[in-house]
Symmetry: C4
Subunit: 367 residues, 4 copies
């Protein structure tokens, strides 16, 4: 604890860039590394989930993601459930370079209401491809549209907001009781983002199959500038991993997945997130560079088009390679943006681990 002044004693928090993984004295053969993981009843090839952001996941890329062994999540409050054919809307947004004009245009196009019928159609299109997938809703709409996700046969319902708290206290009488709500649902729920031990523990107690740790999307810097709120990811993940252990004990064996969501810029960060204790990572930006990405060279989350308090930045990206190359290689750049899974496999091998669970105990240092 540090004394920042006579009235405040505070802890220091660390980011992924503040830590690094240290090799042990033992290395493993890369072919002996097994990256599969299980969340609820679903087994997946590797611990990477594509974020439910319009610039990353369309029905088509959710399918591709699943076919490549990962898990894609469709944003059910995005352009695909507001427009019959959003293609022209994406094209229009991609044609705007001025940041303020882009925000104002987004505020307009996202004012178009969500249609339940389009939710059904998008999800069933994915379902027919026979891959694992999930749909995402915010706390505000989840009661209305969750039944559509359940009936679609999705593997998971993702409930996500910038910050989803364990307790929502309102003088109005319509607050969502997460525990009660999750228990009424006939689908495993992944919920977040949460950023500290107590919220993580509470969401686990509420019955989540997985919790998202972090603010997600591209809202980190903006959340700090606009709200003054910030929780560096290494600390947030480590705290949530401790909550997982404590909940495992108190629940007599229920293991809830901790999914790092936010601030992950490439394969090195994915490895660090797991070494801090995460079971998987949810990423947006690295996948927004795919040639198939619907964002057409831009990347944004819902914070960017908030009608009264914009607190995220639309980012311009260079299209790099196919989604398959970004996930599975081969790579031709050295910045952690390609062959995300091959890189993770190599990190485990180089540092002496053969699966994610044991790798969560890897030695870290502050750099």
């Amino acid at each position: 604890m540090y004394d920042i002044g006579r009235a405040n004693l505070v802890a220091k928090a660390y980011d992924l860039e503040d830590v690094a993984i240290v090799p042990t004295k033992r290395a493993r053969d890369i072919d002996d590394v097994d990256l599969t993981w299980k969340i609820d009843a679903v087994s997946l090839d590797y611990p990477l989930i594509a974020a439910p952001m319009d610039s990353v996941m369309s029905p088509a890329t959710v399918i591709t993601m699943g076919q490549l062994g990962g898990l894609g999540v469709l944003n059910l409050e995005g352009l695909w459930t507001r427009y019959e054919d959003p293609t022209s809307v994406f094209a229009k947004l991609a044609g705007i370079t001025d940041p303020i004009e882009a925000v104002k245009t987004m505020q307009k196009v996202y004012a178009e209401p969500i249609k339940a019928e389009l939710i059904d159609r998008r999800l069933s299109e994915i379902r027919e491809a026979g891959v694992h997938f999930a749909g995402a809703l915010s706390p505000k709409t989840v009661r209305e549209y969750a039944p559509h996700v359940v009936k679609s046969g999705a593997d998971f319902l993702v409930i996500t907001g910038t910050s989803v708290s364990a307790q929502y206290v309102s003088s109005a009488d319509d607050a969502l009781d997460m525990k009660e709500f999750i228990h009424t649902l006939d689908i495993p729920v992944i919920v977040g983002g949460c950023v500290n031990y107590h919220t993580a523990l509470h969401l686990m107690r509420a019955g989540a199959a997985g919790i998202l740790v972090g603010f997600g999307g591209c809202a980190r810097k903006a959340t700090r500038d606009v709200l003054g709120i910030e929780v560096p990811m290494a600390t947030a993940i480590s705290d949530a991993a401790a909550a997982r252990g404590d909940y495992l004990d108190e629940s007599g064996g229920r293991y809830v997945a901790v999914i790092a969501d936010g601030g992950i810029s490439g394969s090195g960060d994915i490895a660090k997130a797991l070494a801090c204790g995460a079971d998987a990572a949810m990423v947006g930006l690295p996948l927004a560079r795919a040639s198939e990405a619907p964002g057409l060279g831009y990347h944004w989350g819902p914070e960017v088009w908030h009608p009264t308090l914009v607190r995220g930045l639309r980012e311009q990206l260079t299209t790099l390679a196919s989604l398959e190359e970004i996930l599975l290689g081969p790579s031709f750049v050295a910045d952690g943006s390609m062959n995300l899974i091959g890189a993770l496999r190599r990190t485990l091998a180089s540092t002496g681990y053969t699966n994610v669970k044991s790798f969560q105990k890897a030695e870290l240092i502050l750099v």
Copy 2:
């Protein structure tokens, strides 16, 4: 304490950018957040005060500020009390882009004497609008012109300098005794800037209704470069908040407002300042971006035109939006420069607080 060498043992001080607010496990509905605060007998809609800087506050913007629920302070040693019609002076300054030429021109235009008659006229013009307002003087002129502020019906007299100390020791015999002076005045006084516990406590004991913590204006970096003096704001506010508590105790219940003044670049910093213990924030730069701002795209404080020792920088700014949009939104940028009050309201809601007083206990971390 850190040992910087064999002869010096020193404490570490922290800035607002070194800290961040951590969400708790509870969130509140944004409509349940109440930002009103009271200083002396005056109730205000939100804890934001516009700084008495010529680039920010004219009689017209003081009125607008008050109409929008805030508190504006007119600089009574600025161009509005030196010139019958300062409009052409502002225009002339806005036409100069070379920094050195700008300083030299300012040194000239501010050499024009202050006229008591103009002080009266400006203040009565504001008074007629029926809003809360204040007038600001420096220790050097306050004895001469304070009576004009009192008679104008202003809500507060602000006494401000780069650094106002609790004791001013001079071999000449004309030093201002703050305590004696404040007690003779028939108007509540806000005084500063002070930067440590002892000065804060002494100014409270001197009878101030509020104290300004920080160096104000845009003088932070220049004060360090020119004078070697610097007190990071998070530490300064925390120390002053501790003084407020100690004084509340020793005075048997007199609560003096701690107002953060300086180094606040946007809504995230306002939230952090309150979480460090401030009751309100005084801001200049964010409001200098308003289309109504008299600075016409420039921002400066009195340090910029000091006749012999310039120690502040005139800054060039981009005009962003109306004063109302900057204060109350909606925003279309994600950097904390718009919808300052909406952002603050959201920070409290997201982190589980419904009023400023309880929010002063929010958890902080070092980042």
Copy 3:
């Protein structure tokens, strides 16, 4: 140890740029400084080894390096052992400025198989020059080609990979047992890179004459970005030096050279590496600026052309001066890139030491 969150307690590691050497109260005459050192049975004029990178060492520059009193190491998996005459390949690579095209072209040209006959020819060409020299192989090829190095009369076999661990565990049955292998060889072995105490100690126990500490080459930043792995050099060297001492004790007097390999950008870093405890430094980049360097203005290691997981960056450099001037001066730049040996000599003199062994005890500070 620092608590990065409830689940992780970690140590802080330091880089060469985090430390500096402090002068003592005594200075020495520069002519009294003796930089010679001994590794196994070989005495060398100064503790600098040229890295086995294609952009730095050709047969010709290995010879020049030896003639100038240092030790050059030829990469036996590089272009010189894949092509009869690699000159045109180097020229082709130098003609490509686009980074991605360069990587893809490298992936192609390095796909050409290694020829044992060319290994023999290159090494015998150097042997004829009568200088000290070494050849480098990776763990993957060392069993096949080591006999060629032995028979060539090289002074050392260097076994090097990004990270060479003490134990390599594989479900396949062909893993290299370093200890067994080294003992079968009739040549002293330098092996690495290792990055911590335990691996260093194990490699010493395996019979190495010297160990390389660090990731070598230009892979530092990319290893962090791609794999999340990083071990700052000051800490890595200090840990390896501690292992050297412990092994000296347990072996009853066997002194194994600790050679810093990676992150050394100029003469200041060489001095710091020795003061952290290294016996010598292996450098690439500073020598790639020589007019004789085969890289023709570019610098790269094998990580740059990895077929599936690129994790190093080809760097463009300005050719500065002859290899002799870079090593022995005189210098006409002040950034530590010229007169590497003269600078090291001066550092020892200025701080009061006359040989490397005593200089390893020089006082360091964190800056």
Copy 4:
């Protein structure tokens, strides 16, 4: 102490930019501040000495410096003692913009031998102006030319090198015994630069009237890059101030001036150096911006033209104002580069001190 690895336990050192001065609760009237100081028998108006660098001090600027109340030091190994009329040499150097060409040309022009006759002539020219002044020699030439300085009537002999140690050990038999040498001289000696407690103490014991703390000139960054040696100034000054106190005690009352020399970029740094414990500051760069400065827009020290190991950078500067304006104001810039003495006076007043001796006890913080 910090553990950088298993073999090294090190202290943390701090720079002037790491610290700041904190105001106390008391302020003083600026007219009550007395900056005069005394070194040996000489009283000076303010604690600022102009560095003996060719780009700063010519016979003419030494005189101006003295007339303005400060102390100027002429470099007696510079162009003024090598050339009958160096004006054209300065002009030639100012005409070269390419850094490498500049270094090579300097190496040539400084190869011209020093002439004793020119030393006499330059010093007597200054002497005739009736101001306080000093002449500087390096340890290498001081035995030969010191008699010329003594006979000139200079107030001080400055013996300066990048790092002057307390003990110089050489197998050759001509090492300078500083103590013996100083005692033979009939002039007070200022000697340095030293960078730690023990060297400072030893130089005090050797009989110095003042010691220079720091590496001086513009060699800080280059010394780190080339030699790996660095001692941050706040720590170096604090340690030397502790040595001054200990020596005062052991000598029964001999007070040796501690003069900060190096890394001082403006008035804020001068104030910080004094607050760390220095009695005065020697500056070069801020004065090289004077219109009278002989460097004609460039600034360099002897490290820049070292014949074999260049370890300083010639810097290009913008000419700002007259020497008088830089020293005594008025200023029209806010970066600490003008009105150095006025700024120092204000720092003392603002923080509650009336003289340098008491100001050495000012409170510092780490920022």
